[in-house]
Amino acid sequence: MTRAQFEERFFGAARWVVIAFLALITLVPFYYMIVLSLKPIDSLLVDPGSIWVGAKDLTTQTYRDVLKPTSEGGQGFLQFMLNSALVSLGTVALTLAAAVPGSYAISRLKFFGGRQVSAMFLAVYLFPATLLAVPLFVMFARAGLSKSLVGLAIVYVAQTLPVSIYMLKNYLVTIPQSIEEAAALDGCGRLQTVRRVVLPLALPSLMATGLYVFMIAWNEFLFALLFLVADPDKWTVSLGLAQLSNGIEVSKTVLMAGSVILTIPVVLLFFAAERLLTEGLTSGADKG
């Protein structure tokens, strides 16, 4: 057998082993999460090794427990979801509103200091969240925003703005200049051109960016912990789950139901817009 033949066979087989392994490590944790969320805690403790749920154990009580408000003996995840949704949607709106004009300017217009500003927007991305955590914590403590969802949304804007500008800019440069020139000839002012021509054309990119921002905000944990930990009414889902899983009062299967609830919105959104998102993120990567 020549070396070429050997390699052909070896890598041919190895490829399937790798594919099976990847499928295993990515899907099994999610499967495990769903299975545990559907059984009562006793059956987990009796047989921790079991990875399916029998018909007689199957329960949705865990979900009811985790969603019910605390006043009715539940864990209040419905309220947490509402908080998370408010913060995330607010972040998306604010971030896009702040990112669109800037990314349009640096992708289209030549202006004094344009290249420096564009470099700065990217450089900001390199600063660690921990470096921002301290001053923002102090700033909001002073402004009285430290225990509010508004403050949290502002922090998330800071976290997501640089990458949003980057994603939008990458898309805007692909829109041909001639379309805008045509609009200008038809008598559109700059602002009108942006509103009537550029924004509709950039809709896929706006959606991809918005989704990405939503995911970051929905998944965020550090700042929610820093700002809201003392105020359980304002907890986001991430924070609520993390805080409850530290204790021992709430059973693990109920919390598993909480994890499923926390995970489902982002995963659904992601699959709904997968192509949009992966292209938005990696555009530019394939140009070397």
Binding site: A23, A105, M256
Partner: protein, 338 residues
């Protein structure tokens, strides 16, 4: 259209335009001036937001690092004043600073190399179409998009010595005698071929978690780049008798190198500052006290804003030095190789 034409064709208002033929030369100048004005107008709102929520806080961190600031008296304190260098003495002198730095570096390097490598292997395996590739491609991104809190919780339960599936299966499949506490064992003694040595189990577990969570990121970028490699190159090499490994080494790898280098830098920066993953899995205990968790501890358990800022600043400086070294010595070589 008619309005623009009538305006340019109409007589200039007296006094604003010179009566002689100076206009044709000034036209391009005004167009670029107008563009300059529009550019500044468009960029200003974005710039202001970045300034207020990102740049000013970062500058303030630098100030705070040199001030004696506790959270209780920060309310009445001015932005300037109370200068001190004690925070840095605190940071460098405190127990565990250096060991925490070493832990951070091991954690960062391990998870960077691991996730890029696994992402590369995954991208190569999924390069050619097969049935169900689209589905697998989508589901492989799940660890990356799913919330870190939920994922950490699932790992925690799965690895638990009391009710975790991993220990249960380990007992029945591999004959483990005792359940292994993956997340709270600092050093785990293994014996291999008569040798006994300790491995930092908890640290390795959080590194594994980080690799698992971020290999999809590398995979995504590498797959996009792989699919842009022209088929002709590889076909020519195959005709010339190059084997698969040779084609990878001499054709694919040089094409991928810039993306791999970029991914390594990005992942290094992200992991170096990583807080959530470690905090959620181990709380920074059992030999996993990465630096970002220490910043959090300074801030919340001691309410020492100055020391937290100093620690964050020291971290950022170390990161910048490492990146500077990288760009000075390696970035050029990667460029040349490709």
């Amino acid at each position: 259209m008619t309005t623009t034409h009538s305006r340019t064709a109409g007589k200039p208002a007296p006094g604003t335009e010179p009566p002689d033929g100076g206009r044709p030369e000034r036209r391009p100048m005004t167009a670029s001036r107008r563009e300059n004005r529009a550019g500044l107008a468009f960029v200003t709102p974005t710039f202001l937001v970045v300034l207020v929520v990102v740049l000013i806080p970062i500058m303030w961190t630098v100030l705070l690092a040199f001030q004696d600031a506790k959270l209780v008296d920060i309310q009445g304190m001015g932005v300037f004043g109370n200068w001190t260098l004690e925070n840095f003495a605190d940071v460098f002198g405190s127990a565990g600073f250096w060991s925490s730095l070493v832990t951070t570096l091991i954690y960062t390097a391990g998870s960077t190399v691991g996730s890029v490598l696994l992402g590369l292997v995954a991208a190569l395996a999924l390069r050619r179409p097969f049935r169900g590739r689209g589905l697998l491609r989508g589901s492989m991104l799940l660890p990356y998009v799913a919330p870190v809190v939920a994922m950490a919780f699932v790992w925690e339960v799965a690895l638990s010595p009391q009710y975790g599936v991993v220990n249960e299966w380990g007992k029945s499949l591999f004959g483990w005698d005792d359940p292994i506490a993956f997340l709270s064992t600092r050093d785990y003694e293994v014996s291999l071929l008569g040798w006994h040595f300790d491995i930092p189990l908890a640290l390795l577990t959080v590194i594994a978690f980080e690799i698992w969570r971020y290999f999809p990121f590398a995979f995504l970028f590498l797959l996009a780049r792989l699919q842009a490699v022209p088929d002709g190159l590889e076909e020519a090499a195959t005709v010339d008798g190059a084997t698969i490994s040779q084609r990878f080494r001499h054709i694919l790898l040089p094409q991928l190198m810039p993306v791999i280098a970029l991914l390594c830098v990005l992942r290094f920066i992200m992991s170096f500052n990583k807080f959530d993953d470690v905090y959620l899995l181990t709380g920074g205990g059992s030999g996993t006290d990465v630096a970002a968790v220490r910043v959090y501890d300074f801030l919340t358990s001691r309410y020492d804003v100055g020391a937290a800022a100093a620690q964050a600043l020291v971290l950022a400086v170390i990161l910048m030095v490492l990146l500077g070294l990288y760009f000075k010595f390696f970035a050029k070589r990667v460029q040349e190789e490709s």
